[in-house]
């Protein structure tokens, strides 16, 4: 096998020009086939799902499911929500009354003893 020659450039240029000409002079039927192949490839691109569109679709579906779940939960809990009406000032006073809570905790022993006594011993 010979080593590459310095004058390769001449025949390489000629070969390149011939290849260019052969590509430029394709017949109409072949060009039409190439055009159809190109359009088919581009149509496949337009028709495919892109990752971000899938992600957006999933996010939308998740949001819709969440909204439905919240709506159903609200309906099921509707009666109990009425019971949990906002506390008024009187309720807060009762709950925060230190006197009552102290009385209860201080008299726990008494109530336990009273519970253990026979009915007759209650004097009733």
């Amino acid at each position: 096998m010979n080593a590459p020659h310095d004058d390769d450039a001449r025949w390489v240029d000629r070969a390149t020009a011939l290849l260019d000409a052969s590509a430029d002079n394709l017949d109409a039927a072949t060009l039409s086939r190439l055009n159809r192949a190109r359009q088919a490839a581009l149509a496949a691109r337009r028709g495919r799902w892109r990752p971000w569109t899938v992600g957006a679709g999933l996010a939308g579906a998740a949001a819709a499911m969440l909204a439905i779940a919240i709506g159903l939960h609200g309906r099921i809990d509707a009666p109990s929500s009425q019971a949990a009406a906002p506390l008024d000032a009187t309720d807060i006073d009762v709950l925060s009354s230190d006197d009552d809570t102290l009385d209860l905790s201080e008299n726990l022993d008494f109530y336990a003893w009273l519970e253990s006594q026979p009915v007759d011993a209650h004097g009733g």
Binding site: A15, A21, S22, A23, L34, R38, R45
Partner: protein
Amino acid sequence: MTPDSALIAIPGCLMAAFDDPPAAPRAERESRALEAFLRGIERRALRMAELSTGQREDALDLVQDAMLGFVRHYGDRDGGEWQPLFWRVLDSRLNDWHRRQRVRGRWWFRPARNEDDEDPIAAVPDAREPGPLARLADAEATLALDGALRALPIRQRQAFLLRVWEGLDVADTATAMRCSEGSVKTHLFRALANLRDALEVHR
């Protein structure tokens, strides 16, 4: 940036975000760029496939398949990366085609061709006949060149066509052929030597 200027800049950023072209026109622009790229490369791709297969029908099928694969896998890449990636897809399809041909040859009890072990020059009986390449009419010279190129092992032919005809640099040729840059240089060296020998009398 002072707090006041930041307050002024934020609406500006928001406006800039709204000024961005919507997704649909951008996709349309990308599609047009992709079409222009494919339109610019498809003829050479067909000739390359034809030189590899020796048949126009198979070559057309391979180019169509390469376009689909390229658009599917690399259509979203930056346009500057398209050229070597397209040739990479086509090169892969050509290698698959040759592999199938070898399997088919074995099935029919024909000796499988191992192009790298063969003397490619021996397979070019007619290329020397018409006379010096430089003095041939274009049609005859093209036939002689086609014969010499077809006789090359596929890797040598691809290295010559991608590096010399398509004008890819060594790195991009290596990307297209899925091999090292050193392999590209070796394949090209051998291709040039074989083509020179085959076309010697035509120079």
